[in-house]
């Protein structure tokens, strides 16, 4: 049994099903990302794990104990919300002390030492006496993180912690969150709808769609062997085409160019070329009018002097082609 076990969780808001029979098992010390499009139930799931929302059915086990009925306050977890929810009338230090002072057994100076320790960890020591609105977005985010880890939680729950930040800060904080999570080896569940974030940070990814789990696996598994067309389409770029009643899928970078005299699997007419640095993305049209995207090195494009309207011949290695039964395509 995993350190966090979600069993058959179901949740409805009126007639709207937010979660439909969700099963997830998370190991101690793992960082798991919940990834999915807007409205698929990510926040609802994390709130049920936190105990802030009650499920209609199913159970939650934490470290082997049935915690389904336990209120959030008894679950020993730290939460960071998208809005951060920093108390605006308290300083950075005050925000962190607010929770620590609740621990009756912890003397004041020890609580203070603990607060300073987490502030050092997130590199905010020099800003400790500022109020939240005097901080940048990234600093606010780190304050929220510090507040969440100050109580040494067993679980860290992050609901889109980086989505309010601009791209550069986001990339930097990804690394920092991961580093801190490793250092504390705290079991972490993070919600995101940014696939790059999930692929780079997570030990494992839970892909959700329409209130159900589509696939659970490591970033590699998810990327290389998407279990469903939805996952294949949602993560990374994917070409879909039909062969003998089957839906086939292949990633642009797995398609190779062939000479017209060699064996090839398909031919295509180039619509446009998109230069992306070392790689160039070819947008082509198959004879059946299906679209296809191919990523090849920009060098090869130059060598072959490819341009719009020229024909290319494609090889799709069997190993890299995924097949789904027809009708499963959305």
């Amino acid at each position: 049994m995993g350190f966090l076990e979600v069993e058959n969780i179901t949740k409805k808001f009126g007639r709207q099903t937010a979660l439909d029979d969700i099963n997830v098992s998370i190991e101690r010390g793992e960082l798991v990302c919940i990834l999915g499009p807007s409205g698929c139930g990510k926040t609802t799931l994390i709130r049920i794990i936190a105990g802030l929302e009650t499920a209609d059915g199913g159970r939650i086990y934490m470290d082997g104990r049935d915690c389904t009925e336990l209120p959030a306050s008894k679950r020993n977890l730290g939460i960071v919300f998208q809005s951060y929810a920093l108390f605006p009338n308290m300083t950075v230090h005050g925000n962190i002390m607010f929770g620590l002072r609740q621990k009756k057994e912890l003397p004041r100076d020890e609580a203070n030492a603990k607060a300073l320790e987490v502030l050092r960890l997130v590199d905010l020591l020099e800003h400790k006496d500022k109020y939240p609105r005097q901080l940048s977005g990234g600093q606010q985010q780190r304050t929220a993180l510090a507040r969440a880890i100050a109580l040494s939680p067993d679980y860290l729950l992050l609901d889109e912690p980086l989505s309010a930040l601009d791209a550069k800060v986001r990339v930097k904080l990804r690394g920092e969150i991961r580093k801190i999570q490793r250092a504390l080896s705290v079991t972490t569940v993070m919600v995101t709808h940014d696939q790059e974030e999930a692929l780079t940070m997570a030990d494992r990814i839970i892909v959700m769609n329409n209130a159900v789990v589509e696939q659970i696996g490591t970033p590699r598994e998810i990327y290389n062997h998407p279990a469903t067309p939805f996952v294949a389409n949602f993560i990374g770029m994917m070409n879909f085409y039909e062969r003998e009643g089957e839906v086939c899928a292949i990633r642009p970078e797995n398609i190779a160019l062939a000479d017209r005299r060699d064996v090839y699997d398909a031919s295509a007419k180039i619509q446009s070329l998109e230069f992306k640095g070392p790689l160039t993305r070819i947008h082509g049209i198959l004879p059946g009018a299906e679209e296809i995207f191919v990523d090849i090195s920009s060098e090869a494009v130059d060598n072959l002097s490819l341009r719009e309207n020229s024909m290319i011949f494609l090889r799709m290695p069997e190993d890299n082609v995924m097949k789904y039964s027809e009708g499963s395509l959305i």
Binding site: L52, T54, G99, K130
Partner: protein
């Protein structure tokens, strides 16, 4: 076994459930049960037997009684029309023209709020009465009766009309005017075709609010009504004069009608009036126009001057030896006769208003917090929401009367609060509950709802989050509620007129007794004391808000 019980209550937080249930129970006791006894008394005979609609039949068959219904509608209608029109023009002047002294005009428009309605009438007596200042200058009016009541009610309802129109006009959508300008619409047409339709929903609201206020006011007709009977004075005569409680109950239920009507209309309109202000609205730039500003300035100056004259006449009466015969300065009128309440009544009013403000603010805020920031408890919450808007429809007279029926009954275990300050405080908290409740709810809605989630995850008890996060962040709203409760309790007559006791008379009642006893100067003096404390509280509030804003800005600048 304890585990099973826990499962049974899964998702329900026991402390929250307890607090919510207690508050709703308290609310039920001070609102629902008294109303129930009022209604049931309207259908009982003097001896306590059920008589159906017989009381109503008798009421409408007695011309001397039922004439009040038409009188009341008459004065309410006329005063509402005047007050709405003047209120609209005044608000338009402040929101849409470039007249000078806007903030001065804004505050003077609120003067009537700070004194009891009895005093509006009293001021009119000073101006237009038999020995009035303006009477002396040749204005002869039949003040006592219909005319006086209407004038008083216009003064009384004007601030409400003004404030509601002002809020509506302030959030103008500039695009409409830009469009009108680009089509070359002349100013007067713009005013009629664009500005008026823009406030039509507000106008309906204003109409009902003012009508209800005038319909149920007791203070003005009491002083200045003469032989012109209205429902509010009838109810008082039936109950306090003839001890005809059942007839009193009948009139009480009649008093509820306009409020209930406005309630229904309000609900119907809410569903249609889904704000026209969108993110694309542009703020209005006010064009220069001398003739327009001149007209509106004259209007504002006239209204303000009237109010100031009213207040000045009170000062003149209170500070001169024997108006209008001996105008030398004196403070002797502040040495109040004991028989009409004395200085004690002023202190009683202060005590009552402070208690109302303290307990009312605490209750309202926690109540709004429970409604806004807890989850689950569906049915209880619905009931709570319903209770919170009901007081809006309850005139003070009705609350007072229903409290007599309910709390004065010997079987009621709460009988002991009858005749004490407690029942006055309770009736005030209830009477003025809804506006503070909306204020508190609005402030709480602005706070991130995840504050509660974060606190819960950190094992911080809910009361600490309320005390250390939500309350400090809502401080401006809390102060506003406090001020609202205090000022209204200082000036209220209608709810307390049935409930004060000989040992605990309040200042607004004392004023009416002084007036009855012919001590007009003392009544004026007492009015001034009420005005002063209310203005003082208001200024204190403005000062604190200003300091808080300054401090916030300083913090930001670090």
């Amino acid at each position: 076994m304890p585990d099973r019980i826990k499962h049974r209550f899964s998702g329900v937080n026991l402390p929250q459930l307890t607090v919510m249930s207690c508050m709703l129970a308290a609310f039920t006791v001070v609102l629902v049960l008294p109303l129930f006894s009022l209604f049931s008394n309207a259908f009982l005979s003097k001896t306590g037997g059920f008589v159906g609609l017989a009381n109503y039949a008798r009421y409408f068959d007695t011309p001397s009684l039922s004439v009040s219904v038409w009188n009341t509608i008459d004065i309410s209608l006329v005063s509402t029309v005047f007050s709405a029109v003047i209120g609209f023009l005044y608000a338009y002047a402040l929101a849409r023209t470039r007249i000078p002294f806007k903030s001065f005009f804004k505050y003077t428009a609120l003067i009537p709020i700070f004194i009891p309605t009895i005093v509006h009438a009293l001021g009119l007596v000073y101006l237009f009465g038999n020995q009035g200042i303006l009477t002396g200058l040749g204005f002869h009016t039949e003040l006592y009766g219909r005319f006086g009541i209407i004038l008083s009610e216009i003064i009384f309802t004007f601030p409400q009309a003004f404030l509601m129109f002002y809020v509506a006009l302030e959030y103008a959508d500039g695009r409409l005017y830009e469009a009108a300008d680009s089509m070359g619409v002349p100013p007067l047409a713009k005013f009629l075709r664009v500005a008026l339709p823009e406030v039509k929903y507000t106008a309906v609201n204003v109409f009902f609010v003012c009508f209800t206020l005038a319909f149920t006011d007791f203070g003005a007709p009491k002083v200045i009504g003469g032989n012109y009977n209205v429902l509010a004075t009838d109810i008082y005569k039936q109950v306090a004069g003839q001890f005809n409680m059942n007839m009193g109950a009948v009139v009480g239920t009649l008093l509820l009608i306009p409020a209930v009507l406005s309630f229904i209309v309000g609900r119907l309109m809410d569903s249609r009036n889904t704000g026209t202000i969108s993110a694309k609205s542009t703020t209005l730039t006010i064009k220069k126009s001398r003739p327009r500003d001149a007209i509106f300035f004259t209007l504002c100056a006239f209204v303000t001057l009237s109010f100031l004259t009213l207040i000045a006449s009170l000062f003149l009466g209170a500070l001169t030896k024997y108006y209008p015969f001996d105008l030398s300065f004196t403070l002797k009128h502040f040495a109040f006769n004991m028989s009409t309440g004395g200085m004690g009544s002023y202190f009683n009013s202060l005590e009552m208003s402070l208690l109302t403000a303290v307990f009312g603010t605490v209750f309202v805020f926690i109540y709004a917090y429970m409604m806004e920031k807890t989850n689950g408890l569906g049915a209880l919450r619905k009931y709570g929401k319903l209770l919170s808007v009901l007081p809006l429809a309850l005139p003070g007279m009705v609350i007072g009367l229903s409290y007599i029926f309910f709390f004065n009954s010997p079987e009621n275990p709460l009988n002991f609060i009858y005749g004490t300050v407690a029942i006055l405080v309770l009736s005030n908290i209830l009477h003025y509950f809804s506006v503070p409740f909306f204020t508190a709810t609005g402030a709480l809605k602005k706070l991130d709802r995840e504050y509660e989630s974060v606190s819960e995850s950190m094992n911080i008890p809910r009361y600490k989050t309320l005390l250390l996060v939500s309350a400090p962040l809502s401080l401006p709203a809390i102060l506003e509620i406090f001020m609202y409760y205090f000022v209204n309790s200082m000036v209220t007559v209608s709810a307390v007129v049935f409930l004060y006791s000989a040992h605990f008379k309040v200042a607004s009642i004392a004023i009416s007794h002084m007036e009855e006893a012919g001590d007009i100067s003392q009544a004026a003096a007492m009015s001034i004391l009420i005005l002063l404390i209310n203005v003082f509280v208001r200024l204190l509030y403005e000062l604190i808000i200003r300091l808080m804003k300054k401090r916030a800005r300083r913090k930001e600048a670090i």
